[in-house]
Point group: C2
DNA sequence: AACATTTCCGCAAACGTTTGCGGAAACATT
DNA sequence: AATGTTTCCGCAAACGTTTGCGGAAATGTT
């Protein structure tokens, strides 16, 4: 029952191994009749090609590596979910490796990818990664590397990421269009590049439109930070008509405060967020947000990967366009 | 630069391939001196064994398959995160395959695992899976299969899952200890086995303790269902002093209603849930919940897998004990 | 000094595929 | 009828590793 190989098939059919192999892949060098005989028997005995042998012979596999800081994150969750679908549809599999935001583990994961001779690697670097050489060395060995989400700032490499500036611009424009006049905007840690990009684009947009809105931009390092900050700033008398949240983490803190204070959306105050799209559905009414979902990003990353495998050698930097998803919080 | 093999090493060292191979794995048949020479050169030229060849030769790989309905789920997220850590620590990798709650895709994924000759498979079956034979066939081919979370009801197989009954009992006991008298309990779809187990254990516990609490148990199919149901049942005059939520999905709907109605935790009403542990932290105060986290489950599943690979042939059914995590909602 | 034992290493087969090449048979063209 | 062309198939090498076996040299035992 166990392992049926090309050899066994060839013996049963009085053919050579080569002919059986070619027949199974519809090679023109074998007659239609023989092809059918072979395929029929193969189906009957449930022949399955030995992937180990194929990999060795062809010197490549149909597996991609995915290196991320942690899978426990809404963004990576949607990204991987979408990427896996694409991969499966194209006959590839995904190997997941978490770096736990530790550069050393990241290097170790990279080594494993190389050792397993994966067909390509998708990687979202840790916040503390500063040596990109190990990644570049893979590229030199013809293993395509696609950076996504958190990508190196300067290096010439394939990058696929959210258009942070565009998302922030869209947020600002939405608030301006809604004629909000007293805006409390909460951003993440100042040293993160994502924070700087979003903050800059956000404020610049208000200037560009010559808006007369009062804009108060604050930073919060975590959900808990945001909560205490907001409990203070949203205390009555209420000075704001809307709160803008740069990320899901912040949105959660803001909503905790709003609930605790008994404020109601959208009558008492409006809320607009930049979000992966999961958290906003947890509230009633649903939060209006600018989507930076991993789904689209994954499809872009995957098609870029296929292009690389097909031989595209130049590098490319792709950005996914944000989309406004209307809820009832504005 | 590219591919350095045993052959190249052997030529550089004037040794045979076999000796080099053995030296690298500290085989006793090669002298200490030679071993060191070999290892030194190998390190210098950055030799990396060809995994394809090793797999073919040894006829097994260090990769596990993980088949789940969808990765976009808090439970699977924590499960996989934890499982990947364990695997990596033990030199294994994880291949993720989503079935999209479609039995046909599930079979296809299973076929791919078999074809890729993975070392073992972790699987959480879809809600519509009823033919377990394809899985059993893998077991016969000496590929261990560990079912987790959603497991087959009757078949003799390795199962690792949450102790649904124990979690429900703990929930009931908590409510009784808190002397709650008017309980609104929301459960999921009645046809799901998880619902039946939790509902039964929950109500039986109240009977067992001879509680005089008023218990109203309702079913809701989704978050939206729960919301509309609760908007009705929690309308004033408020008849309940606590709401019990069987799952995260239900908790979200309940909280939406509570927020919309402007009820405050825990003064106006209490909330207790059975949860994966993420959602309860999204609210203020944090929701008190019975944890059924995937972390512990993953560790149990992995060690069971290792036992299977080591030759343990009997099947085992493991349950993870739930834990009460106190928040401020009771 | 003769023999037995240990130490160390190489030969070669095997794992299951893919594929370049060559060749026999069948067919088509003069 | 002789030649060129096409159709169909098999031989054998190659991918890089592991490992049983055998054997030469070194060491130990009478």
């Amino acid at each position: 029952m166990a392992d049926v190989t090309l050899k066994k098939l060839s013996e049963l059919l009085n053919l050579s191994i080569s002919t059986v192999s070619r027949a199974l892949k519809d090679h023109a060098d074998v007659s239609e009749e023989t092809r059918n005989r072979v395929k029929q028997l193969a189906a009957m005995v449930d022949y399955e090609p030995n992937t180990y042998a194929i990999n060795l012979r062809t010197n490549h596999s149909r597996e991609f590596g995915v290196i991320i800081p942690s899978i426990a994150n809404d963004f990576y969750q949607s990204f991987i979910s979408s990427l896996e679908e694409e991969a499966r549809y194209n006959g590839y599999s995904l190997i997941i490796l978490q770096s736990g935001d530790d550069p050393a583990t990241e290097i170790e994961n990279l080594r494993r990818c190389k050792q397993n001779r994966l067909a390509g690697i998708f990687v979202s670097i840790t916040s503390r990664t500063n040596d990109l050489n190990p990644f570049m060395r893979l590229v030199e060995q013809d293993i395509p590397v696609i950076f996504f989400d958190i990508v190196p700032a300067f290096e010439a490499c394939n990058k696929v990421c959210v258009d942070d500036a565009a998302a922030a611009v869209m947020a600002a424009e939405t608030l301006i269009a809604q004629k909000k006049k007293n805006i409390l905007a909460i951003f993440g840690k100042n040293q993160l590049s994502i924070t700087r990009k979003r903050l800059q684009a956000f404020t610049e947009t208000f200037n560009k439109y010559g808006s007369d809105a009062q804009l108060n931009s604050l930073h919060a390092g975590s959900t808990a930070d945001t909560f205490t900050l907001l409990m203070d700033h949203l205390a009555s008398p209420l000075k704001y008509d809307v709160v803008f949240c740069m990320s899901d983490e912040i949105l959660i803190g803001v909503m905790k405060a709003i609930q605790t204070l008994g404020l109601r959306l959208p009558q008492d105050i409006g809320v607009l967020a930049i979000s992966e799209g999961i958290i906003p559905t947890y509230y009633y009414p649903r939060i209006t947000y600018i989507e930076t979902s991993g789904f689209k990003l994954a499809k872009m990353a995957f098609s870029r990967m296929l292009a690389c495998i097909a031989g595209s050698s130049y590098v490319q930097e792709l950005k996914s366009e944000p989309v406004l998803v209307a809820g009832g919080s504005l």
